[in-house]
Symmetry: D3
Subunit: 67 residues, 6 copies
Amino acid sequence: MPYVNIKITREGVTADQKARLIQGATQLLVDVLGKNPQTTVVVIDEVDTDNWGIGGESVTLRRARGS
Amino acid sequence: MPYVNIKITREGVTADQKARLIQGATQLLVDVLGKNPQTTVVVIDEVDTDNWGIGGESVTLRRARGS
Amino acid sequence: MPYVNIKITREGVTADQKARLIQGATQLLVDVLGKNPQTTVVVIDEVDTDNWGIGGESVTLRRARGS
Amino acid sequence: MPYVNIKITREGVTADQKARLIQGATQLLVDVLGKNPQTTVVVIDEVDTDNWGIGGESVTLRRARGS
Amino acid sequence: MPYVNIKITREGVTADQKARLIQGATQLLVDVLGKNPQTTVVVIDEVDTDNWGIGGESVTLRRARGS
Amino acid sequence: MPYVNIKITREGVTADQKARLIQGATQLLVDVLGKNPQTTVVVIDEVDTDNWGIGGESVTLRRARGS
């Protein structure tokens, strides 16, 4: 019954990588808390780099600066 | 003042269906808790089927398998 | 498979009212989109009135002012 | 270490405006709580006007009506 | 820089289990996407069983019925 | 109409500090995007330090280590 939300920047993540995130997050809840995987939901949000900030500036600007 | 967030898979939901979700969720808060509809916010997130997992796999794969 | 999150102020909502919110939100997804209720998740967050703001001030202050 | 999520309607917000939201939200956490800006995350979600409801109807309809 | 939110029912999860969820979710992002663990944030929300619904009823009721 | 969610660790934040976060976040949306403060919602979530992870470990452990 757990719900896991993973937010990452939108930078070419493949369907296969998303499948691994879903599988891994679900298995984590099974391993640590014995949760039922059949009702475990994982939602991945991909966020444009203009819309993600850290250190007070967008990831777009950080990438451009080479940080 | 309530805030309702509805997350569903992105599978051709129409503007009319979204309008009914917004109307219904707002009315629910009025009916059950007497909330003011004028300040009740509803946000609908549509999520790609690659990005939604249940049972450890994406909805894309489940749909392909006929689950 | 939908996920619904309802955020309301923490002001004495009863277990019965929460049950009605869960039932109503689930039925809404069934009625409008034909979703399977067995995998529809509803999570209610109750938020202290100090922690909820609207119009630039907390609900605690608004309640005290009679708004 | 704070996490700030700003949800707004998708109506032509520019990269510069997003940068100001990121800068301002980060600075707010520094000013009020002395948080470290280097680990303060800001995520901006832009939501289609069909998917945002207030007063029981979508923002698309409200804009069309001139509200 | 990823942000992971894990929502589970509040049913006696220990600090050690939470530490394992944090460690595991962070490592998952490192393994699958090569993310920097130092800026990966994990937030665990524990939700009262009255406030979590599935199948149209609260987890409290389901537990009482033995589901 | 914007919705702002601020997540911080639960470490003795006062009602006055919360009021300043609400006022500041609301003003930010007014200044940058010209939003109406009367329908701008701010929700502050305080998260136990056991439940917040960064760098693969909980804030509780980081505080104990002096990080």
